[in-house]
Structure formats: C-alpha cells, structure tokens
Amino acid sequence: MKIAIPSEGKNLESLVNQTFGRTETFIVVDNSDMSYKAIDNTAASAQGGAGIKAAQAIVDSGAEAIITFRCGQNAADVLKTAGIKIYKATAGSINDVVKMYNAGKLDELTDIHAGYHNHGGA
C-alpha cells in the first residue's frame, strides 16, 4: 500500500516535516517493499488553499494513507472524500514512521485544525 508522508528531504532517512500544506516534499512509499518516490509539493508557496492543493497532489499520487503531524480541515475533507486514511506521525525519519505504521502503533489523526487561511496576514 502506498503511504504519503510530508518530508524534510528526498529519501527514507529524511525527517518527517512538521507541516502539511507547506512541506517542500512528500515521500510516497510502498510499505510492502519500501520502494518510494519523492514528489515536490507545488502548494508550498501557494497564496491560499495550500492544504487543498497538497491534498490534491496526494490523491493524484495514488496513496491510500498519509502520515502527518497535522492537517487542516479543508485538506482533510479532500483526503477523506478520496478514502485516504490520516495517521498521526511520531518524531523520526520516514523509515521510522513507516515501521511504526507496520507495527500498528500509529493512531488516526483526530485533531484536525480549522486552517489559517493565510489570506494576506490580517
């Protein structure tokens, strides 16, 4: 199964990124053989709706789950509509969290934040 994870870098040793919509890269990893692909998050510099755009990229990547520290309401709506499960990340590398996932140790992410809108900094 393919899992998408916001990442600080472009390989499995990279740390999980603290953000979702503003991460530079998503690692999409197949947990059956640990093959992976790094995708650029073009939403990182979006004026608004970064979470939606990032979620769209994840939907398009074919991932069936995502592991992240946080996720906004709009992005969660997109992911849920697509049937993508959202798990809460723990600190560590991409490798580490996938192992945690495989061991069934990750919880589903429940505290979805309302979104900051990021509209002109008002």
Binding site: Q47, G49, Q56, V59, V78, T81, H119, G120, G121, A122
Partner: protein, 286 residues
C-alpha cells in the same frame, strides 16, 4: 473627500483615531472596513437604519455534465477546487468569486450560485453617518464587503475610512480611491516596524499621507526619527493620557467628552483638508 486611517497592526488606535476624527470633523460618514472586527460601532453607537446582505458567486457543479477533465482545478489560483474520485469539490470559503472556472469549463458543467458572506449596516450617530461591514465568522475573504462599503461615494462629502489592519489586499481595496491616508503608530520600535509596512503601501499607491503618533510620550522619539528620516509629515501627536484610556474603555468618544481632544482632532481634519486641496490644485496645474 475620503480619508483612510491605517495601521500596521490592530490595537494601535486606528479605530480610536477614526471615530474621533469622524466626530470632530462633523457631517461625515464613518466607514468601518475592518470587516473581521468592526469596532467603530462600539464608540459611535449608531441607530441602524438599514441592512444589506452581501452575496458572492461560487461555482456549482453539475455532476452529470462534468467529465472530470480537471481544467478548472488547475486554473483556480486560490486552490478552491479539488478533484477526487472524479468528483469536483468546491471549497467555498476560499473561492474569490473570480468566475474564471465557470467561463473556462468546456462542458459548461459549472454555474453561478449566490452565497451570503456578511452584511453592511447603515446607521446614524448624531452628525455622523455610519457604514459598517461585517464578515461572517469562518469566512476568509472580506473584499466584496469592502467594495460595497466604498461604492456610493459623493465627492463633496467627507468619509472617514477605518481600514483593516496590516497591509493585505483588503487594505489596498480600502484605500484605492481615497484622497489621504493617515498612518497611526505608537512611539515604540515595534510600532515603527509596523508603520514601515503601511508606509510602503501608501507610497506604492502614491497617496498623500501623514502620521498620527498615538500615546505619545515626551522623549520617546523612535517614531519621530523614522518620520524625519523618510520625510513623512507628522500631523499630530496624541499624548499618552490615562483619561483617554478610561473614556475609551467606557465606549465613549474622547472628542465628545473633552474640548482639548475635540480641538486636536478638528485640527487634524483641517490640516488634511488643506493638504488635499493643495494636492488637487497642484495636480490640475501640472
């Protein structure tokens, strides 16, 4: 004549200056464009005479016509659209009402649908007419309300515009057609930092402008120094005064309570009026 009152952040006294100026200039219209937090009414306490809902258009998708071609999703630069399992999702709070996707859709699957985002209240408070924009909570984009607030303007009347804080596009919308910008600041480093932001904005728009230093304390010169360096006229210094604080906290207008402050705000108005007339003359001479 439209006078816009700006500050780099909330809480510097922007609304305080706006309502007192509107009161002291008399026969004015006070326009509250700080639609996310319209506070002018707390001081002016207007009798509301009329109300108007503000609607924007959002796209509505006809799923039978939509072929999930994705053109609209890629087009929308506000990321208000997403396509999941061949179904189009519309995030209405993020939609900027540009209408582009509706025009663009090759299948004509999108149509316009009205949506209320807030309202404008019209009122009267003694010699001051009021217009207050109110953005519903949870909404992100107040610009359509600001546009409505600033639509019916008669050049011979005096308008005091309480702009949103900061230097966002909502602020730009509120000063677009104004004749003069008052920049309100406090005499602190932080205040000056925020002043610099709005100053850049009014320069960009080429608007005549001047600074009002609020809570001025003798000897605190950072704001004075900044204005001097950048050649920005200081039109008034409102002293730090506990009395202002207490009158404000009671929701009263200090210019109405105290002749000294009436004089200060009236003088601000006279100065601006002269400046704007002067500008108008030099413009026609050119």
């Amino acid at each position: 004549m439209q006078i816009a009152v700006l500050s780099g952040k909330g809480g510097t006294g922007k609304t305080f200056v706006s309502v007192n100026l509107a009161f002291a200039a008399q026969n004015t219209t006070y326009i509250d464009c700080d639609v996310e937090e319209p506070n002018g009414g707390l001081f002016l306490k207007p009798d509301i005479t009329a109300e108007e809902n503000i609607e924007v258009m959002i796209p509505k998708v006809n799923l039978e016509k939509c072929t999930a071609c994705r053109k609209c999703v890629d087009f929308c630069k506000y990321n208000a659209l997403a396509l999941v399992n061949n179904r189009l999702l519309v995030f209405k709070e993020l939609c900027h009402d540009c209408g582009g996707c509706i025009l663009l859709c090759p299948e004509k699957a999108l149509t316009e649908q009205g949506r209320t985002i807030g309202k404008v209240e019209y009122g009267i408070s003694g010699g001051v007419k009021t217009r207050t924009g109110i953005l519903n909570t949870g909404e992100a984009v107040g610009i359509p309300i600001i546009k409505r607030l600033l639509k019916d303007i008669e050049q011979e009347n005096i308008y005091v515009i309480d702009s949103p804080p900061g230097s966002s596009c909502a602020v730009m919308e509120s000063i677009k057609d104004c004749d003069y910008c008052i920049l309100v600041t406090e005499p602190t480093l932080f205040g000056v930092h925020n002043l610099a932001m709005v100053y850049e904005l009014v320069k960009l728009f080429g608007k005549p402008h001047g600074v009002v230093i609020n809570k001025h304390i003798e000897g605190e010169t950072v704001a004075d120094d900044y204005c001097l360096q950048n050649n920005i006229p200081i039109i008034a210094r409102i002293p730090y005064d506990d009395r202002i604080g207490s009158v404000n906290s009671q929701g009263k207008i200090v210019a109405a309570e105290d002749g000294k402050y009436f004089a200060i705000f009236n003088e601000i108005f006279q100065k601006i009026q002269e400046e704007v007339q002067h500008e108008a003359v030099t413009h026609t001479e050119r």
